[in-house]
Amino acid sequence: MFRQASWNEQVIFNLGRKGRRGHLLSEVEEEVKQAVGDAEALIPKNMRRKSAPDLPELSEVEVIRHFIRLSEMNYGVDSGFYPLGSCTMKYNPKINEFLTHSPKLEMLHPYQDETTVQGILEALYKLERWLAELTGMHEVCLQPAAGAHGEFLGTILMRDYFKASGEQARRTEIIVPDSAHGTNPASAAMAGFNVVVVPSDDSGCVNLGALKAAVSERTAGLMLTNPNTLGVFENNIDEIARIIHDAGGLLYYDGANLNPLLCKARPGDMGFDIVHINVHKTFSTPHGGGGPGAGPVGVSDKLAKFLPVPRIVFDGKMYRLDYERPHSIGKIRGFYGNVAVLLRAYAYILSLGVEGLTEVAEVSVLNANYLMRKLEKVKGLTLPYDGDQPRKHECVFSAKPLKSETGVAAVDIAKRLLDYGVHAPTMYFPLIVEEALMIEPTETAEKEEIDRFVDSLRMVCEEARSNPKIVTGAPHNTAVTRLDEVKASHPKTMALSWKMHQKKRQERESG
């Protein structure tokens, strides 16, 4: 059975010894020192730092060992199967890591003269064109740092679009399905819209009757994930697009689930006006334990003029950064985007081509449906919504029968799966499925791995009957056993920094 390292590693503030150094800077040249004198003495007295920050003092050896030990208490795609639904945890090719650590990228400053950065500008320009082509959109902006950042930009574009058309005061609502990712309503609200939720129908798709009832002259748009969070393709997409467009609204595509559609179908052809892409999902860039990612946004022709500045343009000879865009919304961040992430996506597309990307999509769907059909046979789990319908890249099971039978919940199954050396599926999402387990194998899982996963899940369900405590007490083989997440957020015990922890401990000790 799987065993994760469990180092009991101290918080770094408890390590080291006064005076130790992990890195020495080059000495400032003697002539510089003589000419300037004590640099700190130049600082006005009221602005000088009086006491040094309480940072740990360690040698390079200790720093490396500390963080290597931490890394050994972490699980990534390279460690094993990571079927986290809606997150598309596919393999991250090593060559792309190697290439982005080139000094020819790392040592570029964003404000360098355009003549000195033609190579990277060409890569970004082409990546924009390729993403536009893959999504069927007119133009793509690479700047958003994450999917949610792309959503923020997308909803701001809606705002400015209606501002320009004189309808802003009226178009105050964005519609989202009840199966939507939480970011959709959060992004809509951030951009100042009211959120209207429409229910799903029996097949797990948008309920058309409810959608028709929800649209009005107040509708700014609909945010839709397709395939949706159940992994089901919204096959009424034509009708949905018609309903939204007839009402004068815009159709927004949440690209979290784009993977199964690569070179098979395009949001632009389905009538979407705005698309965001999670390159850290579909285009294989590593998620970094929470980021950095990149969330490029594609738009139809009528929205292109509102995109953030600068736009990368090519005059046949030179790539340039164009800031002269009078209708632009402005900026949603500094500079041009998470370029190091974007270059990996550029490399990924090249490494596959249309031929390989088609294979990516098809095998991601084959894997998900194979997994689903095998898992259907496991007692205790059910497949809600139309079971005859194929899924796309992921499937969602409910552990409700197992819970009724044994008391073991989805969270317990998830924790016990960790003991089997696989990452847990996404749990309790989408919200429309009780005791949900959302499973996305991606195209980079091999058949043998999927079989092992299904076996593991079957064994967990059996354990729930034969030895429920081993499941409800899981995990047992990870760096730590089940954590008290309530304590982490309780005002009395909450410690969001070492400083806060020490303060609260003192308070407790003194009574």
Binding site: Q4, P44, R49, P56, L70, N74, E133, G288, I349, E485
Partner: protein
């Protein structure tokens, strides 16, 4: 015929596909796509490279492409303005390339993600030590979006609709702030500066601050590189008007500059890219977001926050995400922000970097940048027809250089410098027309005395007669 097999797609091998299709009861994969309406199925050939590239060809292609770039290593480059060149120790690179960290998702299952969680907790803790604040989140996208989030947080806390920011501010940061602020009904007003010193004009601040002010924002060092010294007055004035005081910082200066927590800051934002992260053409960046320990603040903070806890049996210390009830996956449209994916791995780099430097190293870093930048100012001010700095305030690692007397534009000067293999400072003449032909120069520990002298000689050769 054997179908195309790809190294990243294990089941692209025919035999695996066949077995799986048989298990599902289909004859070809296309049957799994029949639910997509025919008019939505792609029929045209996409304008993309058709065939896969071998790894060797891919490497050659990208390296050839990148070879057309000219880097800061190949020419002394004096650019900063929010993305700064600093040395990245090899030990930092080693850690962030550990694939257990690199290839993990957000730590939704904390028991199997303790490494990332603890590293991020340590990052948050070190940012608190640097800034003098109590709590920090584990990153936002960058400084500009951090400021946007801070303005919205201040407006929520105070229930007021205005933020005051200095006129000397990075234009991209200001533009971002406005995009974040406008939908929340927040108006951004700018406070003028003293034309000699660049310092915030306290009279103008007094004139603009009101009962509508949710927050007053300053930067230290300022966008144009000098230290804002009237921090106590500005902080007092903000608090007197029941407004928050937000301070933007460059963390590399906090080994020598007073931390904002000591002069009344309620929220600190900034850019931690220079802590162990390469510039990479401006991304990835690493937005700092920290605040005071006050539940009314913490509940309004955007982003992921890692907290210390114990196992349920109480036997072991551990880490997990805290205060998730603020976040989009639970609160949906009532969330404090929509941010989820952030810059976590860059935050780990910053934690490793700060651990390597320690308190003394951070002070050495700040002092080295300041000594070299001030040395550069002295040398450049001796160049005929060059005036530096424009403001008579103390500069840390960036400073303004004015070329008005030369009759040349910054653009002209930079073109001439580039011919000599040097990259000059950022042209700010359009951003601040009142400062004439002025550039913003940046000097850090990576610039040698020889680099600086080469710059002075090149400028002398260009403008000196």
């Amino acid at each position: 015929m054997t179908s195309k097999r790809h190294p990243y797609i294990p089941n692209s091998v025919d035999s695996a596909k066949k077995e799986m299709m048989k298990a599902i009861g289909i004859n070809n994969i296309q049957e799994l796509y029949t639910d997509i309406p025919a008019n939505c199925q792609l029929k045209k050939r996409l304008e993309l490279p058709e065939h896969p590239l071998s790894e060797m060809k891919l490497k050659r292609h990208i390296e050839t492409l990148l070879s057309r770039n000219k880097t800061c290593e190949e020419m002394p480059t004096f650019l900063g303005a929010g993305c700064w060149p600093h040395y990245v120790p090899a030990a930092v690179q080693e850690i962030v390339q550990r694939s257990e960290l690199l290839t993990a998702y957000t730590p939704y299952q904390p028991e199997i993600s303790q490494g990332m969680l603890q590293a991020l907790f340590e990052y948050q803790s070190m940012i608190c030590e640097l800034t003098g604040m109590d709590a920090a989140n584990c990153s936002v996208y960058d400084w500009a979006s951090a400021l946007g989030e801070a303005a919205r947080m201040a407006s929520r806390i105070k229930g007021k609709p205005e933020i005051l920011v200095p006129c000397i501010i990075h234009p991209e940061r200001l533009a971002t702030l406005k995009v974040y602020a406008e939908p929340a009904g927040i108006t951004v007003k700018q406070v003028t500066y003293d034309s000699k010193s660049g310092q915030v004009d306290l009279k103008d601040l007094e004139a603009k601050i009101s009962e509508k002010t949710a927050a007053v924002y300053i930067e230290n060092p300022s966008y144009l590189g000098f230290i804002e010294t009237q921090v106590e007055e500005i902080s007092d004035n903000a608090h007197k008007h029941n407004a928050l005081f937000i301070v933007g910082i460059d963390p590399t200066t906090l080994g020598i500059l007073k931390p904002p927590g000591e002069y009344g800051a309620d929220i600190v934002v900034g850019e931690a890219q220079p802590l162990g992260n390469a510039m990479s053409f401006g991304g990835s960046m690493l937005g700092i977001f920290a605040c005071r320990d006050d539940m009314s603040f913490l509940r309004q903070m955007p982003g992921r926050i890692i907290g210390l806890t114990t196992t349920k049996n109480g036997e072991q210390q551990g880490f997990c995400m805290a205060l998730q009830t603020r976040e989009q996956h639970i609160r949906r449209e009532k969330a404090t922000s929509n941010i989820c994916t952030n810059e976590a791995l860059c935050a780990v780099a910053a934690a490793v970097y700060l651990a390597l430097l320690g308190p003394e190293g951070l002070r050495d870093l700040g002092a080295a940048c300041m000594a070299k930048a001030n040395y550069a100012m002295r040398l450049l001010s001796k160049v005929h027809r060059v005036q530096t700095p424009v403001f008579n305030s103390t500069h840390v690692k960036e400073f303004t250089v004015n070329f008005d007397e030369s009759g040349l534009t910054v653009k002209d000067v930079n073109a001439k410098l580039l011919q000599r293999g040097i990259h000059g400072g950022k042209d700010v003449s359009k951003e601040f027309p009142e400062l004439g032909q002025t550039a913003l120069y940046c000097v850090t520990e990576i610039h040698s005395k020889a680099d600086i002298e080469r710059l002075a000689e090149a400028l002398d050769g260009t403008l000196g007669w």
